[in-house]
Symmetry: C2
Subunit: 319 residues, 2 copies
Amino acid sequence: MRVLVTGAAGFVGRALVQRLLHDDAALGKPVTALVALDRQLDAAAWHSDARVRAMEGDFGDGDTLARALAEPPQIVFHLASVPGSLAEREPALGLQANLLAPIALLQRLEDEELAPRVVFASSVAVYGALPVEGAIDESQVLRPKLSYGTHKRMVELLLADASRRGVLDGISLRLPGIVARPPQASGHGSAFMSDLIRRAMDGEPYTCPVSPGARAWWMSLPCCIDNLLHAARMQADAAGPERVIQLPVITATVAEVAATIEALRGHPADLQWRPDESIEALFGRMPELHTSLARKLGYTDDGTLQALVQRAVATPPGR
Amino acid sequence: MRVLVTGAAGFVGRALVQRLLHDDAALGKPVTALVALDRQLDAAAWHSDARVRAMEGDFGDGDTLARALAEPPQIVFHLASVPGSLAEREPALGLQANLLAPIALLQRLEDEELAPRVVFASSVAVYGALPVEGAIDESQVLRPKLSYGTHKRMVELLLADASRRGVLDGISLRLPGIVARPPQASGHGSAFMSDLIRRAMDGEPYTCPVSPGARAWWMSLPCCIDNLLHAARMQADAAGPERVIQLPVITATVAEVAATIEALRGHPADLQWRPDESIEALFGRMPELHTSLARKLGYTDDGTLQALVQRAVATPPGR
């Protein structure tokens, strides 16, 4: 299989590329060529695997895109994006990375006439305002509150239309915040979810920018990779004409996650609470989420909070 | 007021420009400058009004856009689009006109930092599949079935986000098929609605591509213009954060419209029926539509089928 991964140097992209290269069952067929594209590639992250062509550049740029698609891929994982908080601070950057570049990518893939599977990393940010109490399901009305979620929804729509026309074979996965991201400032408003787990598991003090009762949607990096690979292999039209899958998540409060870590480590975590209303409003008031379609199609969450926490801090293979 | 109209040579654009120039109450304040932009301008349609600057060109093109915005407008009516059937036949044209060009327009207006009112002519094509029986309302889930409706929804989302950020002051009006379009082939799948009214009112034979029981959403051109002008004057945030108004429509079967025409003319219409399933499925199975928000905000339908038919065939002012 010839594979293209955009955002290959990112938190999710890096782990996906490693898995694609080291797990022959990842796609059902062996990976014969992998184009790993990102705006900036960290040389140390890339093995000297002869199948990998690592490319630095903006895939919204025509030349970069032409080089990346010189051997047209059969599977595309489109992960590249500018995170939500950063996109709010720099709207032109967000528009370019999260909307214009994906449009250019899809258009170019359409022109190749190979109708590749395109797995698009969408986001739960497409929902925007949600009811605080009760539960929602996959048919929830979408009212994105940020440019990030707006652009994600726009690309979902475009991918569904291209799939309807048969020029691409797309599927959009709505991802929650994935844990545990490395500590550098990433522009993700949901960074606290990762920071909390890493610091508490390391026995370090952490001041949390949401309240203990903040209820979020959780998924570990290995679980996310499993689901991305499942999307690459599945019968995409099983997702219906919208071609959208809301991934199953674990809904839990920050206090429940902290208690899980304390139980695993056998002593109290050193946490302080300094809630920031803007962060709590965006990430800390999530209702229960029912995802019967996704579960029926074989997508999974981490199962338990213990598994979530342990997988979140596990060292990815190949690191 | 300085006004920009895109798609100014179109069926709706032409009537809107005439109204803006001849009705001082149209915007509440006099129009001092009007840029009328279209890909092709029919010279005869434009009066030698000193306020009008008629510009031929594609507003997705940077130079054309720069010239059109040389004096930044306070109100923009964005009407230009490639109709649905045509966009299905020529996807690249549809993408350019219905998505990329509007994105470029909104981006450029954002850069002007005047936060103009932008009235966007969206479409009921954003709904896609609808229940055949019963009624829907303004919160109906959106599942566009055509590229046209997909692109319209994408631009609605982008306009809402720009309005949230305060860089534009947008409002999207979801229009039904507007009657009665002139007879030339327009690429509108809903052309039968106009053709039926014109031919039957002229006492000419007409073979209708839907069944007598086909139920459609109707609005006359004068009613549409009234609503566009109302959108230019209203408090846009009254439409909520989505900045979308589903216009009130008259829901009626083709047979009911034909009977209205027969009653007005005093003798039977010469109609034959040759239903085309693809047209009937897209335009002839519309449920009742409740638009309490739009009505509360002062938007209107034609009131009665008699008024609809008479206004549909009335000669626009200034013709």
